[in-house]
Subunit: 236 residues, 2 copies
């Protein structure tokens, strides 16, 4: 039995930072939503003008990216059986229960993430569905790689190009597969994030010479993974 | 050279119908957005209470579905080269220019669709990017199948199950491939829509015994298509 873990990296699930709470664009949104800026998710589509001087601004305020990746994951049969974690741009680790039915409407997803940041977990019917974990990226990577034999795949433009048709999974070597995908719009992985990952000897792979969106990378990986598993199952 | 056309069927891109303009949920949204209900897209996440008695309500008010499918299409190399049309639940045909960069934010997509319904087209820099076509579904299917030799694939639960690893494309037979995917949340294709499609002898295919979301179907078809084209190109 193969255990698959998806970890999305540097997703922009973060509250509006204090340094821009007084900006008119933030104040307006705060008033409209009747919430303090500390309880609102940073969103480039609403707070663009306020974000001008934020550090790393081109990677921030895009919760739509992780929303779509998560929907693609949870809609697929493989994703439904996988462990899914999101590492946020400010270093939090969010864990999602298997086969979760996430809100498909963007505004509801944003509301849910705001509730998560405030309360630390989302429960329903006595079950914890989403939770901020007591982990940083390194301790998460250790925990999903307990026997240090997991295959860790890092999707990055700078990786070795796949032949395009399949992922080569050596399931005799390991029953654990960990897949790392960036969930930000532009630029490279953060240097510290990369240093943490490198300690675990990931195999860096790329889908081609072009720059692809996180959504496309997620979709393609799911599909190749489904094909590989089907081939293994069918002995082809 | 293969021409690929994607047509999404029964997408819920429609204005709020007149019969519910006076419902408090609609009035509230109309006031908040400072627009008349006729100029607002029907959205289950906002107008749920008002939609209770609408005909076909379970298929309506879900523009998020077609939004995600379109993003998945346009993010993929193949989608960028394809012709993309959306057939709406009220029978309109919307054409998208090749390789379009659609708004990734849901609320902006909704705003754009509202502008489209009002003005009939979206232009930028002298170029028409999105347009309501002077077509119904049948005339569209005739126009994308000019020599009546196109391969028309209809994705439906009731179709023949794919072997799962590839789409069999017989490109010697035809340089035209038309792919039809439903863009609604529940239920079957509308009877009249199905009658129109059947006139063109589609090949009905299914991805498996489960019921899948439009997003998953779109993602899987794109990936299988990419694999098939790569195989053909590489002579495998």
């Amino acid at each position: 039995m193969l255990n698959i873990t998806f970890i999305f990296l540097e997703a922009s699930i973060e509250p509006i930072p204090e340094s821009i709470w007084n900006h008119p664009a933030v104040q307006k949104d705060s008033k409209r939503r009747k919430r303090s800026p500390a309880e609102i998710l940073l969103d480039d589509s609403k707070h663009h003008a306020a974000m001008k001087n934020l550090e790393n601004r081109e990677k921030r305020g895009r919760p739509d990216i992780i929303h779509m990746c998560l929907l693609s994951i949870f809609d697929s049969p493989i994703g439904g059986l996988s462990d899914v974690y999101v590492h946020t741009i400010d270093g939090k680790i969010i864990g999602f229960s298997k086969g979760l039915r996430l809100p498909r409407n963007y505004n509801r997803f944003v509301g849910l993430m705001e509730q998560l940041l405030k309360e630390g977990k989302i429960k329903s019917g006595g079950k914890t569905l989403i939770e901020i974990k007591d982990h940083d990226l390194e301790s998460l990577l250790r925990s999903v790689n307990p026997s240090q034999t997991s295959q860790i795949l890092l999707l990055t433009e700078k990786g070795e190009e796949l032949d395009g048709l399949q992922l080569d999974l050596d399931l005799n070597l390991t029953p654990n597969l960990v897949i790392l995908i960036g969930a930000f719009p532009h630029g490279d992985f953060d240097r510290k994030v990369m240093e943490s990952i490198q300690k675990f000897n990931p195999i860096s792979i790329s889908l081609g010479k072009r720059s692809y969106t996180s959504l496309y990378v997620t979709n393609r990986v799911i599909c190749l993974l489904e094909n590989s598993l089907r081939r293994l199952r069918d002995g082809r």
